[in-house]
Symmetry: D2
Subunit: 442 residues, 4 copies
C-alpha cells in the first residue's frame, strides 16, 4: 500500500548498513549500558514496584532514549530472550484445560500464555507520553527485524497492543487548514509521502485553497502527532494527471460547484504504527463529511500512483508470469530504454499497448499471497473501491517516470457498492474494474 | 475500597429481584429479540464484514440498547456460550508448542486461545462512543454475575480490554472549579459516593471555595464522563472530623497559608470500570500538583471512613477472631445498644477501649485473602500510605454512626516513604502505623 | 421597557434611604478619604503622568472601591465640579470658529468643549478590568441621580463613552446551554428580570431542554458578565400564557417540529449600561440564527408582560385621559376590588370589557413624550414589531396579578415588515396592531 | 518612531503617482458610483433607518470596497463636505452657553459641535467586522492626506474614535510561538518592519527558539489581525550588533540562564491605526511578563536602529545646526563617500569622531517641535527609557549602511526610573543618557 512508502528512506539505508554490523558483533560484545535497563524492566514488572511504577516507566524510557543504535538492537534481543512466556505456568494451564476444557480454563490458559513483554509494554505506557515513546520504540524495532527476523515475534506484541490502543473508536478526525497551529502543519510537510511539499506556500495551497481539504486522524495519547492524513481536491471532473492539481498558478474552483472529490494523496505518518490500518476508516469518514458539507458531490475517486508497476515489469523480463506476453516484454524493454534516454514522455500518448500492460498488471497479475500485486491497488480494492481508469501521462515528474513510467490510475468509491466490492475481492479474489478498464484487456 | 460503594444502591436492590426471576425463566423462554443481535455479533466478526464494520457495530449497540433487562441477561449468557475460545485451533496450537516450545509458538498459542468475545468487544469499540457503551454494558453484566456467577468469565474479557484501554497513559487529570461546564459539574453531584452533595450551593463550596480543590480523571473516549474524582481541603491542621469541612457557614482559609492537604472524599464514577484502579495514580498526581501550586504544603493526609468496622464487629459477636478479647465483645454490645437507643454519641468522648477496638480491627485483624480487613484501609495501605490516627467522633451523622459508630481515620501519604511502605505491606503483610496508633494497641 | 426593571429592587430601596441622608449631610461634612482620590484623578490627567497611567488608573479604582456609599456620592459631585469643561479654552475656540466657521475650526471647538471628566474616564479604562469597573461605577452614579439630579450631567459622559465602547460591532452573541460554565450560568439566575428562576433545575430546563434556547450578548472587556439575554421557547403554536412554558413537568417538543419561536423573557444585566440599547439587535440576530438552525420556523413572537397597565389605570381614576370612558373607570374599580379580595381570576375569563381596556391602554393612550405608554410596548414597537394579541389570563401568578391583573400580550416580528413598521411608529406615531386587536377597540 | 516605517513602501509609491492624478481630475469628473454611496451614508444617519442600520452599514461597506482608488478619494472629500458640523445647531448651543455657562450647557455645546461624520463612523462600526473595515478605510484616507491636506480634518474623526475603541483596556497581550495558527504567524512575516523575515524557517527561529519571544497586542474586534508586536532575545550580555541575534546557525541560550532581555524589533501592523500608540504599554507589559517568567532577568534593553541619522547629517551639509562642527561636516562627507565606494565598513571600527557625531545627533540636536530628532529615540525616551550605548557596527547590512552608516543604539528600561525619566524628558526637554554616552560628547 502506498502509504507504507517510508518517508525517511535516506536515513534508513544508512542505518541498515550499521544494523548489519551490529548483527555481526552482537553476541561477542559485552553490554554494559543496557544491563541496568533490563533490570529496570524487571523492576517494572515486580509486584513490589507497583507503587512507583509511573516513575520507573519514565526512567526506563529516558534510559532507552540514551542508547545508541547498536545498544537498542541488543536491548530488543534481550527483551525477546528474557521477557517471553512463562513456560511452567503455561504447561500447567494446558494440563488444566486438557482435563476440563471449560471456557474458564481456556481464559486461564490464554492469560497464562501471555508473554511478559506485553505486560512490560503496558506498564511502560503508564509514563507521561509513554504511548508516543512506544510508537517510536517500535519504529526502531522494525528496522532491526530485517537483519534479525526473530525480532518479528517481539514486534507482534507491540502490534497486538497498538491494535487495541489505536482502535478506531479512539481516533479523532480533524480538518487542517490555515488556522491550524504551525507546529502541526509542519508535520504535513514532513510526513507527506506521495507528492512532496516543497515549502510553506505549497502547503498553504493544499490546506487553505477553497477547493482543497486535508483531513487527518489524531489519537489523544499522541498529542499533535498525526497518524495519517488524506488530501482532497474538489473538482468538476475526474482528473487524469497530478500536475494541474498541484499547479501553483491556478484558479481555484468555487467548492459549491464541485461534483467530484479527488483523494490525491494519503500518507501514513508513524512508521511505528505499521500494519495498524487507519486508511480504510479515514476514507469512509471523509466521504461522509464531504457529502454533508457539499451535498452536490457525486463522485469520490482517487488519483493514485502505481508504485509497483516498473518493478514488476522488470521482474517479468527475467521470469515472466503466465499473464505476460511477448509483446509485453518487448514493450517493457522499449519503455525502459526510452526512460534511460530521456525520451519516455513521447511514448506515452495514447499508447494502447502500454495501457494493456498496466491493466494486465493491475487486473490479471496476482500476488503470491493472493490479491492484487500493486500495494496501492491492494489497499483501495480491499477497502471496497473499484479500479476506474488508467492514465499514462498521470505523473511525468522524474519520480513518476521512475516508479511507473508516468502512469497513474483512479479508484472509485461508491458508497452503495463498497461492501459488495470488498466481499467479491476478498472471497472471490476478483479485481473489480470499470468496463473501460476491462476493454483495455481485450 | 470505599470507592467501590455503589452509588446506585437503591436501583440495584430492585434489579436484583428481577434478575433472580430472569435466572429462573432463562432456559425455558424462547428468545426472539436477541437472536438477531447474536447474528449481528457474528456479522461483526465475519471477515467479509470488515468494510462495513463501523456501521454494524453502531447498529448492534442500538439494538442492545433496546433490550429489556431480561433480554440483556440472556444476551450475555449467549455470548458466553457462543463466542468462546476456538477449541480445535487451541488444541492444534498446543500440540505445535509441545513439539517446539519456541517464543514464536507460544505467541501462536496465546493468540489461538483468545476468546472470540474479546475480538467482538474490540470491534464494537469502533462505533462512535463505543467505549462508553461498552463501559455501560459491563455495568449491566456485573449485575448479572451475582445470580449467574459463570458470567464472571465473560467479565474477565471486558476487564482485560479495559485494563489496556484505560491505561494510566491515556487519562487526563482535570481540576473542576466553578468555571467548569454545568453538565460536567452535575456529575459530581451524581457520583459523589462518600459525603453526599445535596445541591448546587454545596457543590459550589466544594469546587469553588479558595481552600477547596476537586481533581478528576477523564478518558478521551468517555467525553464528559469522569472516571474518578478526589476532593481536597486545604487546612492548617490535620482534621479529626468531617463536619467542619462540609460546614456551610465557614470562613475559608487563604490557601497560601495552608500546611495540610486533606483528601476527604474519593469517588469512583463508573460501575462498569470496577477493578480498573485509578485511585492510586490519582492521589499521587494530585499530591504532585498541589506541591507545585502550594510549595508550603507539608502534610498530605486523608480523612477516611471505616466502612467495614461495624460489620466486622458484629461478626465477632458470633465467631470471634483470635485478636478479639472479651472486653472487645462487651464493648461491641454496648455500642450497638447505644446506637439503637440513640445515645451513642455520649459514648464516643475519649473512649480508650473503643479506640483500642478500632486499632485492633485496622491493625491486628486480617482479611482471609491477606492484607487489611477494611476496604478503605486496603486501598490506602496498598498505595503506600500509613495509618496515622483514629477519631471516634469523626462522622456523627446518621450515616456515620450506622457504618462505624461515628469513627473516622487519617491515612498519611509521605512521598519519601510511599514505595517502602507499599513493599512492607505487600511482602510482609504488615500494617504501617504511626506510634500514636501503635500505643492504642497496648 | 421591561428590561429596565431593576433586578436589585430590594437593595435599591435600602440604599435610597441612605442616599437621601447623604444628600443632607453632603455639604457640611469634611471629606478626608476622597480627597486623595481627586488628586489621583488629577494625576491621571497630568501630562507627566502618562508613563505610569496604567498603574495610576489601577490604584484609583482600588481606592474608589474602598469608599463607602456616602463618600462615593461626594466623589461624583466633586468630579462634576472639578472636571468639567475648560471655559477659557472653549471661549477661545468659539471666537475662533465665529471668525472662520470652517470644518477644521468646528472640530477644534468640539474637542475644546470636551469635559475633562470624559478624558478621565478614558484613562481609567486603561486599567485591567477597567471597563467593568466603570460600568459598576456608573451603576453607583445612577443611584445618586435621584437625589442629586445635577449628576445626570456627569452621567452623560459615561453614557457617551459607553455608547462608543459597547458599539454593536464589539458584541459577541453566545448561546448558553448545559455545557456552559457554571459561573456564567449562575448569572442567568441572578439577572433574570422577568420570570424568576428559583434553582438550578429550573435553570437547566430553560437552557438545556431541547425546545428551549437562551441567547446572550457578551463584550470582550466584560469577561463572563453578560450584557443582556433573551429566552426562547420553540413551540407549535402561539402561546397565550406563561405557566405552560415554565411548567416543570412537561413533554418537550421535538425542535424540528416547531413552527413558532416565542421570546418569553428579555433581561438587561448591567444597571450601569442603562440606556445603551442592545435588545433591538439581539432580537434580530437571534431571529436570524433560529431561522438558519430551524428553517421550518414561521412565526417569531413574544409573550410579554404589560408592566404599566395597572399603574396607568389607577392614574385614570384620579385624572382620566381623553381615551378613557366611564365604563373603563368602573371596570378598573371592579378589577382592583377583586384583586384585593383575591377573586380576580374569576373576572378574567372572556372579559370583553377588560380586553377593550387593555387595547385602549396599548393602542389609544399616548405617553407625554409621544409613542406608546407601556414601556415594553415602546421597546417592541420601536424595534418594528406589531402588537398581535391580548391574553387576560397570561400570568395569573401573584406578581402577574399585581402588575397587570394577569394580562399578557404578544408582539410579532415579521422580518419583511420590521423596517416599515418601525418607520410608521416613529414618524406617524401610529401603533401597528393586528386586526384582532383592532376589533377589540370597537 | 521606527514603527511608523510603512511596511508597504513599494505599493505606496505607485499609489502616490495615481493619487496626484486623481487630485487633478477630481473636480471635473462626474461621479456616478459614489453617489449612491453618499445616499447610503445619509440613510444610515436617518432616524427612520435605525431598524435596519446593521444591514445598511454592511451594504455601505460592501459598496465602498468596490470603489477604485479615485472614487475613494472623491468619497472622502464628499464626506468632509457633507457630513460636517451642523452650524445652525452649534450657533444655538453657543448662544445658550454664553447666556449660562453651566456644565450642562457646555455638554450641550459639546454634543452639538460633533461632526456628523463621527456619528456616521459609529454607525458603520455596527456592521460585522466593521471595525477592521474602518481601520482599512482610514489607511486609504491617510494616503490621500498627502495630496489633499484638508482630509486631515476628516482623519481627526477616525483618530478620535479609534483612540476610544482601541483603549488599552480592550487590548489582549498574546505570546506567539510555534503552536500559534499559521494564519496569524504569517502576519508576522508580512508586518515585520525592522528586520525582514525571509521565510518560515527564519520565522520559526524568532518565535520558537527557546531564547526568543514574540509578544503581540490583539483587539477583540480585529480578529486575527495583530496591532503591534515586539520581538525579544534573551541573552547573557547587552548586544551591540543585530547579526548574531538573527544568525541562522546559532546555539540557543538556556533561557533560565539569561540576564538580559533585548527588544530587537517593534513593528506596528495597522497603517490605519497611525498615531494610536500601543508601543509604550506593550513594552511595559512585556517587561512585567518576562520578569515573572524569568526572575533572574536584570536588564531590559533595546537594540534599535537610528533611522534619521543619515538624513539629518546630509541636511547639515546644506544648513548646519548650532551643534554641528566643521569636523562633523567633514566626517559626514567622508562617510558618504565611503558608502558610495563600498568601503564604509572599514571606517567604522573604533571611530571616536563618528561616535561623537551620533551622540551629537541623539543628545544635542533638537527637533523643531521639541524633543529628540530621531523618531526611534523620541519613542523610547518618551516611554521613559535612557539612551545607553552607541554601536558603530550594529547593522552592516545594506539597509543598515544606507539608513545610518551601520550604526545602532541601546535604550534601557529601568522600571524604577521610567516615570522620572519620562517627566524629565517631557518637562525639561532633556535627553537622559548613560555616562558612557555623555563622555562621547566631550
Amino acid at each position: 500500500m502506498f502509504q507504507l512508502i517510508d518517508t525517511r528512506n535516506g536515513l534508513l539505508s544508512d542505518l541498515l548498513t550499521r544494523v548489519t554490523d551490529i548483527g555481526r558483533s552482537l553476541d561477542s560484545v559485552i553490554k554494559q549500558r543496557e544491563k541496568p535497563l533490563l533490570e529496570q524492566c524487571e523492576g517494572l514488572l515486580d509486584k513490589n514496584g507497583e507503587a512507583a511504577s509511573l516513575a520507573k516507566a519514565q526512567q526506563l524510557l529516558k534510559h532507552y532514549d540514551e542508547l545508541n543504535d547498536e545498544e537498542k538492537g541488543v536491548f530488543f534481543l534481550e527483551i525477546l530472550a528474557n521477557f517471553g512466556t512463562d513456560n511452567a505456568a503455561l504447561e500447567k494451564a494446558i494440563n488444566n484445560w486438557k482435563s476440563d476444557s471449560s471456557e474458564a480454563n481456556a481464559r486461564v490458559l490464554h492469560f497464562a500464555s501471555e508473554p511478559r513483554s506485553q505486560i512490560l509494554l503496558r506498564r511502560i505506557n503508564q509514563a507521561p507520553n509513554g504511548t508516543l515513546a512506544l510508537v517510536k520504540m517500535r519504529a526502531d524495532l522494525l528496522r532491526f527485524t530485517r537483519t534479525h527476523p526473530e525480532l518479528k515475534i517481539l514486534d507482534q506484541d507491540f502490534a497486538h497492543l497498538f491494535l487495541s490502543w489505536f482502535n478506531r473508536g479512539f481516533l479523532k478526525l480533524q480538518t487542517m487548514d490555515w488556522g491550524t497551529p504551525a507546529n502541526i502543519l509542519e508535520k504535513v510537510i514532513a510526513y507527506e509521502a506521495v507528492h512532496e511539499i516543497s515549502n510553506w506556500s505549497a502547503l498553504r495551497q493544499r490546506v487553505a485553497d477553497p477547493d482543497r481539504r486535508l483531513y487527518s486522524y489524531f489519537h489523544p495519547a499522541l498529542g499533535i502527532e498525526p497518524l495519517i492524513f488524506v488530501q482532497v481536491a474538489l473538482t468538476d471532473h475526474v482528473p487524469g494527471a497530478i500536475a494541474p492539481i498541484l499547479e501553483k498558478q491556478r484558479e481555484p474552483l468555487d467548492p459549491e460547484k464541485a461534483t467530484t472529490a479527488v483523494f490525491y494523496s494519503i500518507s501514513n505518518c508513524q512508521t511505528g504504527l505499521k500494519g495498524i490500518s487507519f486508511g480504510n476508516f479515514l476514507i469512509k469518514q471523509v466521504v461522509e463529511n464531504l457529502r454533508e458539507e457539499f451535498p452536490k458531490l457525486e463522485t469520490f475517486i482517487t488519483l493514485s500512483p502505481v508504485p509497483g508497476l516498473r518493478r514488476w515489469a522488470l521482474q517479468q523480463l527475467e521470469k515472466p508470469d503466465a499473464v505476460t506476453t511477448a509483446e509485453h516484454l518487448e514493450l517493457i524493454r522499449d519503455l525502459e530504454r526510452a526512460r534511460l534516454e530521456g525520451t519516455l514522455t513521447s511514448l506515452l500518448e495514447n499508447n494502447k499497448a502500454f495501457k494493456n500492460l498496466v491493466a494486465t498488471y493491475l487486473v490479471s497479475a496476482r500476488s503470491p499471497r493472493g490479491g492484487a500485486t500493486d500495494p496501492v491497488s491492494r489497499f483501495h480494492l480491499g477497502n471496497g473501491a473499484r479500479l476506474e481508469d488508467i492514465h499514462l501521462q498521470g505523473d511525468v515528474s522524474e519520480n513518476g517516470l521512475n516508479n511507473s513510467w508516468g502512469c497513474m490510475v483512479n479508484y472509485q468509491y461508491r458508497i452503495s457498492d463498497i461492501e459488495k466490492n470488498h466481499e467479491t475481492y476478498v472471497n472471490a479474489d476478483k479485481i473489480i474494474t470499470s468496463s473501460a478498464v476491462k476493454s483495455l484487456l481485450k
